[in-house]
C-alpha cells in the first residue's frame, strides 16, 4: 500500500446535542450509575432502593433505545445506530435488568450501591461495544466493560475465592486486552483506518499483507479470551466459581453476548476478505479456519472436562466453554444466516445462564454451597426452583421444547449449509458429539435435584421479599426460555431482519 496519510480532521462538526440524543441510552445509564453510587454512599445500606433506581433507569434506557432513529452513523462508525445494534442494546440492557434482582437478593452483598454502579457502568461498556463499528471504540468499550467486571468479580471481600477470581480475571483479561490492542494496532498500521467497513474495502482491493494476518490472529485471541473459548478459557472456571453469583452471571451472559456481536462484526465486516475456508478438504488460511479450530477444541475440551466436575458453577463454566464453541459455528459459517444463528444462540444462552445462576444463588443461600450435594433433594425442598433449573439445564443440553433446542438446530443447519458441498460437516459432527456428551453432566445435575435424597438440611432462608424477587426473576427467565423454544420466531425473525 502506498503512502498513508494520517487521519484528517473531519471538519463536520456534530453538535453535542445531537451526540447526546444518539447516545442517550449510554448517557442515561451513566447518570443512573452515578445516582446509584450516590445513594449507596449517602443512604443507609438498604439493598432495595438502589435496586429500584437501577431497574427504573434500565427500563428508561430500553425505552429510549427503542425511540432511537433507524440509522445513524457518527464519526466514521464509532457510534452506529442500526436495527441490529439497537436490538442488541436492548438485549444487553435486558440482561443487565435480569442481573439486578440477583444482586439485590444476594444476602452477602455489602455495598449494593457501589455494586450496582459497577454493574451499570459495565452495561455502558456493553452498549458501547454493541453500538460501535470502529476498532478504537470497540477497544475502549472492552476496557470499560473489563474494568467493571474485574471489580465485580473481586467484590466480595469476605471470600478469598472472590479475590482469587478477581485477580485471575484481571490478569487474563488484561493480557487479552494487550493482545487485542496489538492486533488492532497492526490492523490500523496496515490499513490506515479503524473503521470496520473501510478496512473491509481496503482489504478487498489487494492481497492480504502478512502483518495484517498477524493482526487478525491477535485480535481473535483477545476475543477468544473474552468468550472463554479453549484454549483461552483458563480463567473461566475460577471466575464462575469464585466470583459473587450476580457477577458470574453477568460475566457469563452480558459480556458474552456483546463479545459475540462485536466479534461477528469484526470478522464479517472488517476482515471479510480474509475469510479463508474451514471446509474439511479445502482449508484456506483466514480467520474462519482459526475460529473453526477454536470451536472444535472448545466443544471437545469443555464438554469432556465438565464431565468430571462436582461443583455446579464449575460445571457451568466448562459448559460455557463448550457453548462458546457451538456459538462460533455460526460465525465460521458466515453470511447472514450464520450470524443470525450465532446471535440467536448467544442471546438465549445468556438468558438461560442468568437463570441457572439465579437458582444456584438460591441454593447457595439456603445450603451454604453450590456443589452437587447441596442440590440434592432440591425438588422436595423447593419444587419451583427445581423445575426452573431443569428447564435451564435441559435447554443448555438442547432438548425440546426449550430454546436451546431450536438454537442448536438453527446454528447447526447454518453451519451445514455453509462452506459449499457440506464442507463444515466435520464441525457439525463434532458439535453434535459434544452435545451428546453434554447431556450426561446436565442430567447429573438434574439427578442430584430430583433423584438424590435430601442430604444437606436447610440452613438459612432468605427474607421474603428477596426470595420473591429472586423467584420472580427465575420464573420470567424460565418462561422466556420455554417460550423462545416453542415460538422461537419472535426473536429469530427480529434478528434475521436486523442483520444487514
Amino acid at each position: 500500500m502506498s503512502v498513508r496519510p494520517g487521519p484528517q480532521p473531519l471538519n463536520l462538526f456534530v453538535s453535542y446535542l445531537d451526540l447526546l440524543k444518539l447516545a442517550s441510552p449510554e448517557a442515561i445509564i451513566v447518570l443512573i450509575a452515578l445516582a446509584v453510587l450516590t445513594i449507596g454512599l449517602t443512604g443507609d445500606r438498604s439493598r432495595t432502593f438502589p435496586g429500584i433506581v437501577a431497574v427504573v433507569g434500565i427500563v428508561i434506557a430500553i425505552w429510549t433505545t427503542m425511540r432511537l432513529p433507524q440509522h445513524a452513523n457518527l464519526f466514521g462508525g464509532m457510534l452506529v445506530i442500526s436495527p441490529l445494534n439497537s436490538l442488541f442494546k436492548i438485549v444487553c440492557l435486558a440482561l443487565a435488568l435480569a442481573t439486578v434482582p440477583l444482586a439485590v437478593s444476594e444476602k452477602s452483598m455489602r455495598n449494593p450501591g457501589e455494586y450496582l454502579a459497577m454493574l451499570l457502568l459495565g452495561t455502558v461498556g456493553l452498549l458501547l461495544l454493541v453500538g460501535s463499528e470502529e476498532l478504537l471504540m470497540i477497544f475502549i468499550g472492552l476496557e470499560v466493560l473489563g474494568l467493571s467486571l474485574y471489580v465485580m468479580a473481586a467484590f466480595d471481600k469476605t471470600d478469598a475465592r472472590s479475590a482469587e477470581a478477581g485477580l485471575k480475571y484481571f490478569l487474563f483479561g488484561s493480557t487479552a486486552s494487550a493482545f487485542t490492542l496489538f492486533g488492532i494496532s497492526l490492523v490500523y498500521g496496515i490499513s490506515g483506518t479503524t473503521a470496520l467497513n473501510v478496512i473491509g474495502l481496503k482489504l478487498a482491493m489487494g492481497s492480504i499483507p502478512p502483518l495484517f494476518a498477524v493482526g487478525i490472529v491477535m485480535t481473535l485471541i483477545g476475543f477468544a479470551f473474552k468468550i472463554a473459548a479453549a484454549p483461552f478459557h483458563l480463567w473461566a472456571p475460577d471466575v464462575y466459581q469464585g466470583a459473587p453469583i450476580p457477577s458470574a452471571a453477568f460475566i457469563a451472559s452480558g459480556s458474552k453476548v456483546a463479545a459475540f456481536v462485536v466479534l461477528g462484526k469484526i470478522v464479517l465486516v472488517g476482515f471479510a476478505p480474509a475469510h479463508g475456508n474451514a471446509a474439511w478438504h479445502s482449508m484456506l488460511p483466514g480467520w474462519s479456519p482459526i475460529l473453526a479450530a477454536l470451536a472444535a477444541l472448545s466443544i471437545l475440551l469443555g464438554n469432556f472436562v465438565a464431565l468430571a466436575q462436582t461443583n455446579v458453577r464449575r460445571l457451568l463454566a466448562y459448559s460455557a466453554v463448550a457453548h462458546a464453541g457451538y456459538t462460533l459455528l455460526g460465525l465460521v459459517a458466515g453470511g447472514r444466516e450464520g450470524f443470525s444463528a450465532t446471535l440467536f444462540y448467544t442471546t438465549i444462552y445468556a438468558l438461560t445462564l442468568i437463570g441457572a445462576f439465579a437458582v444456584v444463588g438460591i441454593v447457595k443461600r439456603e445450603t451454604g454451597g453450590d456443589d452437587f450435594q447441596n442440590f440434592a433433594g432440591l425438588a422436595s425442598r423447593s419444587p419451583f426452583s427445581a423445575a426452573c433449573m431443569s428447564v435451564f439445564m435441559l435447554s443448555l443440553a438442547g432438548l425440546p421444547p426449550l430454546a436451546g433446542f431450536f438454537g442448536k438446530f438453527y446454528l447447526f443447519s447454518a453451519a451445514f449449509r455453509a462452506g459449499g458441498n457440506h464442507g463444515l460437516l466435520w464441525l457439525v459432527v463434532v458439535a453434535l458429539f459434544g452435545s451428546f456428551v453434554s447431556l450426561y453432566y446436565y442430567l447429573n445435575v438434574l439427578k442430584a435435584i430430583f433423584v438424590d435424597k435430601n442430604a444437606s438440611e436447610t440452613r438459612h432462608s432468605s427474607p421474603g421479599t428477596h426470595r420473591f424477587v429472586a423467584n420472580a426473576t427465575i420464573a420470567v427467565l424460565a418462561a422466556s426460555v420455554v417460550l423462545l423454544g416453542v415460538l422461537p420466531d419472535a426473536l429469530a425473525e427480529a434478528i434475521a431482519k436486523s442483520v444487514p
Binding site: P400, S413, F416, H422, L432, L443, L446, D489, E493
Partner: protein
Amino acid sequence: MIAWTIYLTFAGAVIVLLLPRAFARWIALLAATAGFVVTLVTFFRPDVDLGHFTTVVRVPWIPALGMNYHLALDGISLTLILVTGLAAISAILFSWDVSERAKEFFFWLLLVVGGSYGVFLSADLFLLFLFYELVIVPKYFLIAIFGSTNKEYGAMKLTLYSFFGGALVFLGVIAAYVAGGSFDINQLSQFQFPSQLQWWAFPVLFLGFAVLAGIWPLHTWAPTGHVAAPTAGSMLLAGIVMKLGAYAALRVAMNLFPEGFRMWRTTFAVLAVIGIVYAAAVALRQRDLKFVIGYSSVSHMGFVLLGLTTANVFGVSGAVLQMFSHGVIGALLFAVAGTMIYRRTHTRDLDALAAMNLRRALPFAAFTFVVASAASMGIPGFSGFAAEITILIGVWKAYPAAVWVVGAGMVLVAAFTLRALKRSFFDDGLGSAALSAAAPGLSAGKISESSRDGRAALAPITVPEKVGAALLMFATVAVGFYPKILLDRIQPAVEAMRFLR
C-alpha cells in the same frame, strides 16, 4: 380431530401437576382414555383417507426457517396411535398403586405418551424430531426416580443411547432440510436427493432411529432400561418408545432416501437377523424375568427391522403390524413381570420364582402370562403370528436365506418363552435339585425361605390390573383372529411410499 390425542394428553399432564395428588391417577387415566376414544372414533370413521399421509392440521410455525405445525395421518400412524393409547391406558392402570410423588410420575408418563402421539402424527420433519427428542427426558425421570434394580445406571444408559440416536437423527434431519429446502415430509418424499447425500444420510438417519428400536449392536440400553424401569415405564418403553424408532425409520429415513435405502438395506437386514437370533439366545440364559422379556423385546423388534428392510409390501406391512403386536404383547409381559409378580414377591429371579408355586397363588397372573407368552411365541390366533407370518412372506421374497436363520431364531424365542413361563408359574418347586444344578449359586435353603416369605405376602390381583391386562389381551386376540382390520389400513399407506415404486 385425531390431533386432539396430543392436546388431551399434554393438557392432562399439566392438570396432573396443578391438582392435588389424590386426583393424579384419575386424571391421567381420563386423559389417556380420552385420547384412545378419539383414536377409536377416527379408526372406524369411513371417510378418513388412510392411504395417504393426509394433512390434519397445518399452521405456519417458524416461517423464518420454513417450519410448520403440520400433522397428518395415514394407516401406519393410526395403527401406532392405537397401540399408544392401549399401552398408555394399561400402563396407568398398572401403576394404580403408585403413591410416592404420584403427580410427578403421571406427569412424566403423560409426557412420554403425548410426545409419542406427536411423533406418529408429525408431517413436518422438525416437528417430528422435536417430539422425538421430547420423549427422552421424561423416560429418564420415570426410571431414575421410580425404577428399581440399578435404576440410575439403567436410566442414564437409556437416555444416552436415545440421545446418541437423536444426535445422528439431528444430522440426518439437517441434511434433508438443507438439501431439500423444506421440512414437509410429503414434499421431501417427492424430492430427488443427490445419490451421494443419500449414501451417507440414509444410514445416519436410519441408524439414529433404529437405536431406539433396539437394533443390534446398539440394543444394550433396552434390557437394562426395561429392567430398571418401573412397570409402567417398561410398558411404555416396550409398547411405545421402541416403536417410535421403527416408525420414524420408516416414515423419515426410508421414505426420504429411497436410493440410500436400496444401497444399505442388506446391511441392515443382516443386523436385524443377528439381533433376532442373538437376543433370543441371550434371553435363554437370563435368570431375571425382566431381562428375559427385555431381550425378547429386542428380538421382536428385530423382526420389525427385518420387515422394513425387505422393501416389499408384505414385509413392511408386517413390520407395522408387528409394531402393534409387540407393543401390546411387550406391555402385557412387562405388566405381569413387573406388577403382578415383582410387586408381590419382590423377586424376579426365575429360580426363586420357581420355588413359589405362583400358579396357585396368582392364577390370573398365570393366565395372563400364558396368553402373553403364546402371543409372543407366535402361536396362531394371536397378533404375533399374524405379524410374523406376514413379515416372513416378505422376507422370503427379499432374502430367502434369511428365513432359515430367522426360523431358528423363532425356535429360540419359543424356547426361552416356555422356559420363563415354566420357571415362573408352572414349576412346583419340586425340581429344586435340578435347579440347583443349573444354578449352583442359589442354595435350596434360600429358595424355600424366600418362597415362604413370598407366599405370606402375596396380595390378590387388583381390579385395575385385571382391566389393564384384559384390555391388552383382548387387543392381541382380536388382531390375531382378524388381522385384516389393521392390515387393510396399513397396506394402502405402505403402498403409497416411494421406495416401493
